[in-house]
Symmetry: C2
Subunit: 131 residues, 2 copies
Amino acid sequence: MNIKVYVLEKTKDKNQLAAIKEYDKRLTRYCKIKLFTLKNEEELNKLPEKSYKIMVHEKHETISSEALADKIQTLGLIGKSDISLILSDSEEFDDSFALSKMTMSTGMSLTVLYEQIYRAYRIMKNEPYHK
Amino acid sequence: MNIKVYVLEKTKDKNQLAAIKEYDKRLTRYCKIKLFTLKNEEELNKLPEKSYKIMVHEKHETISSEALADKIQTLGLIGKSDISLILSDSEEFDDSFALSKMTMSTGMSLTVLYEQIYRAYRIMKNEPYHK
């Protein structure tokens, strides 16, 4: 699975950057994941057509960790091996979910998202989750 | 406002500890906040009676950052100046909410909770939120 994460704002908080880096490292066992910072919303239109675009924003439906694991697993099974997770409230997408109803900074959202992707793979592989 | 945060598990992740410490420092302007690690669920029964006990757990209702700010402000207005926020699925409480429907480690939940308490005070004071 090829996961691309898109944000519209660079994270500067060093604790959050360190946390994201740590999950990024742990995820190398399970998938290819890469973070991109876009200059503006318009750049979202340039994302590759074949990529399955999922918006991650508080205005969408909150889901459980198990539901996220299911989502990723199902996409793999139907041959969608290129997923874009986009932290934006833009309306154009194939799917969407919320990490929380609460407003979080981009860095905090990213930290939670990376933890949840890692957790999703642990759930899919039936492996215990190490905190 | 006197906010006590109770968890049943010690956080060891150094990025999360650093993030919590940072929000703790920023919160000194707004409230007294202190983190306690309990040895077991039974210790919850020993919390001071006058403290307003709020359970924070994914099984409860997800709320927005604005709703959390409202909740804290209302408690202050009705003279409940001692709040306990308890990360547990225990059934005994005065109120409850969820940070997310997703399962998060204790350390990650604490990081999000501290950010949300800080954000709540920024909302209450009508101050911009600095990421």
